[in-house]
């Protein structure tokens, strides 16, 4: 059995910031991530980020990931466990079960836990959606930007949210042809500046289109063709509008859902909030769930952005440390600053969905652990 004051599960932007904030207050932290490196989603995001200077605007995701990881790795109060997957939380004795390199099993007993596990990609039902060649957009990004292997030659991107648009742009940067980006919604869900970036490359963005079926090459069994069709204003497919696209890759980018297993196991009260991507933990303004001592931050707390994930992480880290009695006198000020920055980021029209989602979640309990 291993002891630590604060266990942070997940080393993405949320987890890294949580660890740094808690260590800054004086706590001892252990970050656990199943990957061989820190950074979470950031390590494959080759584009420059939005936000303000404080959220590293204009810096590429990969570089933000590197910056934060370096800071974490040289911080004497933070211990990092890589290739380590948290596979269980035992609420009775507050122990985390961790599998190292898929082989050895370690138990950790932390005083507080910050869950920052991120999210996983949603799937889309259509005929033959399991053919080899049909991948999650994030998977394509991992293959391409982390491992330097292109997914194929011609791609159909399904989903015109930020991820679909950005991954399309990155595919074109890797000289992979994106034949079209389709979205069932009548409007582009991602930022228009991202949409204009890919439009300018000659990639058509087709709204009110969905995928009907995919077909394999008889000999290889892998994807060869996709059939798309148009939707009317009641989202019903219009027969006769079918188009056939010769593609060897279909990238699915229809949203993410929070990776909440640990929170369920811990007995946190969960709520289905579609605006936040699915089931998320009910929590207070300090990012603490209904189980005292368990905090959430980042996409697992509601699918949003790296910028907000970082601030949520900071908030969770500050509060976890404070609850252990660590406060160098700056806690209140730093907490308020983080809350204010979050509000600013979410105050615009593109933050509306998140605001609606959070209204259902955060107000329902108040500060029940206070």
């Amino acid at each position: 059995m291993k002891d630590t004051e604060i266990a942070v599960i997940g080393g993405g932007p949320a987890g890294l910031m949580a660890a740094l904030a808690a260590a800054e207050m004086g706590a001892r932290v252990t970050i656990i991530d199943r990957n061989s490196r820190l950074g979470g989603q950031l390590v494959k995001q080759t584009h420059k980020f939005f936000g303000s200077e404080k959220e590293y605007a204009s810096v590429r995701g990969i570089d933000i990931g590197r910056l934060l990881s370096d800071e974490v790795l040289k911080n004497p109060r933070i211990e990092t466990m890589l290739d380590s997957t948290v596979i269980g939380y035992y609420p009775d004795d507050g122990v985390l079960g961790v599998e190292f390199e898929g082989k050895t099993f370690v138990k950790i007993k932390p005083k507080k836990v910050v869950v920052a596990t991120g999210a996983s990609e949603k799937f889309l039902p259509f005929e033959n959606n399991d053919l080899p060649g049909i991948y999650g957009a994030g998977a394509v990004q991992t293959l391409m930007n982390e491992h330097g292997v292109v997914p194929g030659e011609n791609v159909l991107m399904v989903g015109a949210g930020n991820i679909g648009l950005i991954v399309s742009y990155q595919l074109m940067q890797a000289k992979v042809n994106v034949k079209a980006i389709i979205d069932a919604a009548p409007c582009i869900g991602g930022y228009w500046v991202h949409a204009s970036k890919v439009a300018r490359l000659g990639v058509p963005i087709m709204t009110s289109y969905t995928i009907k079926a995919a077909y394999p090459n008889e000999a290889t069994g892998t994807l060869e063709r996709a059939v798309i069709w148009q939707l009317d204003d009641r989202w019903q497919p219009i027969p006769g509008t079918e188009k056939v696209l010769k593609v060897d890759v279909i990238c699915i980018s229809v949203g993410l859902s929070p990776l909440t297993e640990i929170l369920w196991q811990a007995g946190c009260e969960m709520k289905y909030v579609p605006q936040l991507g699915g089931h998320v933990a009910v929590r207070n303004e300090n990012m603490e769930t209904t189980v005292p001592g368990i905090y959430v931050a980042g996409d697992v707390a509601g699918v949003e952005e790296a910028s907000s994930a970082m601030i949520e992480g900071r908030l969770a880290g500050l509060n976890a440390a404070k609850s252990l009695g660590y406060d160098d006198g700056t806690y209140s000020e730093k907490r308020l600053e983080a809350i204010k920055r979050l509000q600013n980021l979410r105050s615009g029209p593109v933050g509306e969905k998140i605001r609606q989602g959070l209204a259902q979640l955060v107000s329902s309990g108040g500060d029940y652990n206070a």
């Binding site: 991948y135 330097g148 940067q173 394999p216 069994g221």
Partner: protein, 101 residues
Amino acid sequence: MRITEHPILTFKRGREVEFTFNGKKMKGYEGEPIAAALHDNGVRVLSYSKHLHRPRGFYCAIGNCSSCLMTVNGEPNVRVCTEKLREGMVVETQKGRGDIK
């Protein structure tokens, strides 16, 4: 196919190693996921589904979805999207659940 030049990224690759896929010799880089090496060698079908034996490729590439289970060095149900490639590995497709040898 490997990306050789990229406007943003440079790739640090490990040592080149040999491995086999269903008995066939292939090359990849040490430490990269087995799935990346297979993909580069044109292998897209990694497994077959349990019931209908439909071919499957990877889907999530981060160890979440289990669509990439293969037998590696005789051990079944290895997620090759995250398992690292090593010199001389023996990688095989498995049908269905994968029997323990």
